[in-house]
Symmetry: D2
């Protein structure tokens, strides 16, 4: 029709080839969402497991994703460098992933929460490209280090509040200027909490990757809560970067 010319205003947005394509999504205003749905503090295992369920759903739909990493209200998906899904169009990649994650969150909510979902959540999404394996590993290290720092802080903070009867401002003051060692020490001496014994899902976040299911003779997405900053994970899963 005489209106079809408007299609030509769409602009090409193919991702540069031979780069790792990362799609990261993050919950919109999850400060409010988590509080309205009474997420446990500092970590709600139901929320994290729901996130992982959605992450799995995304990976099963898009097998070019070799790795997922989730923590807090965010999830990162790593598409293999040679990925040609949607002709590498960035818009298609980020919206399809974010959309399926979002619809899955509502769909699977009741599997994890007894309380009813009060309103549909929103996630933002973005594409980031990493040219080298080192860049990609550093990206994942960045997210896992972020998880660690936030979780150590939150664990200490809520121990002071929930077990130590600190007021919120007093807990904040108490932690001001402390480093990792201080917080570990405080947790142990004041609350007999050995931080390293806290659930790995809280400390490390969740790594989703494809593993051979020898029983069913197919690949399945498995969830691990291990360190991905050091070399061990990468030598043990050498297929990822090869």
């Amino acid at each position: 029709s005489r209106y079809e010319y408007v299609k030509l205003f769409e602009q090409a947005d193919q991702c540069l080839r031979n780069c790792w394509i990362v799609v990261r999504l993050d919950g919109r205003c999850f400060h409010k969402f988590s509080s309205q749905h009474r997420f446990k503090k500092p970590n709600d295992d139901r929320a994290l497991n729901l996130m992982n369920h959605c992450g799995k759903a995304v990976m099963k739909e898009f097998p070019d994703i070799i790795l997922g990493y989730g923590q807090s209200d965010e999830f990162s998906f790593i598409f293999k460098k040679s990925c040609n899904l949607f002709g590498r169009r960035a818009s298609k990649l980020m919206t399809n992933v974010t959309s399926l994650f979002s619809s899955s969150y509502v769909f699977y909510w009741k599997n994890y929460f007894n309380d009813i979902l009060q309103y549909p959540p929103t996630f933002d999404g973005r594409v980031v490209l990493y040219p080298s394996d080192k860049n990609l590993r550093d990206y994942l290290s960045w997210r896992q280090a972020d998880c660690h720092i936030n979780n150590l802080y939150n664990t200490s903070f809520w121990a002071l509040v929930q077990q130590g009867q600190y007021s919120l401002p007093d807990a904040e003051k108490k932690l001001c200027g402390t480093d990792s060692g201080d917080k570990n020490e405080l947790l142990f001496s004041q609350f007999q909490i050995n931080y390293d014994k806290e659930p790995a899902i809280f400390r490390k976040g969740s790594i989703l990757l494809w593993k051979e299911n020898v029983v069913r003779k197919r690949k399945d997405v498995v969830v691990e809560h291990v360190d991905i900053i050091g070399d061990n994970f990468w030598t043990g899963n050498s297929q990822l970067l090869s």
Copy 2:
């Protein structure tokens, strides 16, 4: 941390200023989705009303959207030219809209369908920029003309099949090479269907826009099924382009 440098790999994607920002989303493989959920053919009013409900939810969350247009498995949202939401970052705009639409689709499903939702749906999304009002109107005309053409065809096709006992290939053959007039004629003479009397939601799609609610003294999103190709709509809603 020493990993934070990876944040710098994110690339700026602000939309050119003083342009209309259109976010269009479209259901992924809704051929399959509609068939698995036994959508009525050629049009399922439940599906369309659910789409409109989601469209409303998006507009209420993002009041910079002055207009929505939905048909089939797609929805277009028009952000005002001066929109500065997310600093006009294209990724943020398209993912937030697509995400909320997707989660709403699952959330409100049961309001429209008795049958259970079988799997979470996926929508893709994109941003398109239009510099002039004429370009924007032509965009909307393009989508509404598309609605009309598809719907006239589908109405004729399924009349032949459902009422005329044609096989699918025979119905296709029968319509091959026919123009609009032929199809109108065929519907009327063979099936006593006056196409212009078909529900407007099927023929025109759905226009969502903000209207003053004089009772509640606030603006609400209303749904209309009117022509947006001619001038009438635009003179009657002159606030849209002003």
Copy 3:
């Protein structure tokens, strides 16, 4: 050959349609270049006329340019909105324009300067898109206002130094905090200079546009030094925005 795949790494960069395409170029380190070539201060008519010669050469080569505007070491070229040169590829547009301007600068140097050119000059270039006629006019007003402000300042500054025997720092101090009126007043009272009588090429910059040459029966590029901020120029040249 087996290496041809690298061609696919080139990324599309078409300019959004129905926008004015502006290519602006600017001399690299012309502070140094102008001083090494002993440009007259504050304005060197030879340099400006050479710039205009190059601007003309560019417009004759690329007739889609409807307007050029030059001042100091910069030049802006306005391509018509419907321009389809190089398929609107931004890289092609900016490099071709900047390249021809640069080679012309050397080629025509001897037409304007007796002293020899000491080294080849460099210009940067960029593409900027403007969706509306008002945006385009504001762009040109921005450059002409910039010309005016700089030139009034420089004229005052060098009058103080060259005629008023001020040292450079003293001249700077003298002008610090003065507005346009003050500078006009100072020029007139101290140096009997009526700023409005200064050469228009210095005060207004140079506008290059296509005019019918009635003698030769063809279009030629003409150079004017008139106000392009007010409406007069645009009503008198209504073909530009039509």
Copy 4:
């Protein structure tokens, strides 16, 4: 001023980090330019040496360029991966390089040609990013293979015409369907030309790179005409990719 807002329409175009940045320029309509300036066929050493002179000028101005490669009317410049010149803005990089190359071409013309330059030449320019060293080497191999293929063809073609008295169409027909071996054979048997003994600058193009000048105790740009497809060049110049 009230017009300054137009500056905000400029769009960010930083090159993705940790990628090789290639700027390639190519003469505009050099078919015509070379014929008007009576370039020797198939290769004009004056033209090639002038190109190399310009390439050197560019590299000396932008020391982040680690390598240049020239052939025919084109030149490629490789910026190091960590280059932060102009904040990696693609527009700045491609226009500055193309501009200086173009002005240098005119500036140094008389050093190479007795005949006067008839009009200022134009070059286009572009930026292409390569994430890996292999991609970069393949890029350079692509250009050098292109040089080889064109040059072997042109050498054969003009031998047939100039020495063999073939008409142009007859020479074309003679070469139609021949492979490299056929052309080598034809050159040798009919014209006693050992293609491998042809000047390396014609067969290999020109590689420009920084070498320590032990006499002057500084780095200088040197020109070589060697194979860059095989590993030898890269092991001998291991600093390039390190």
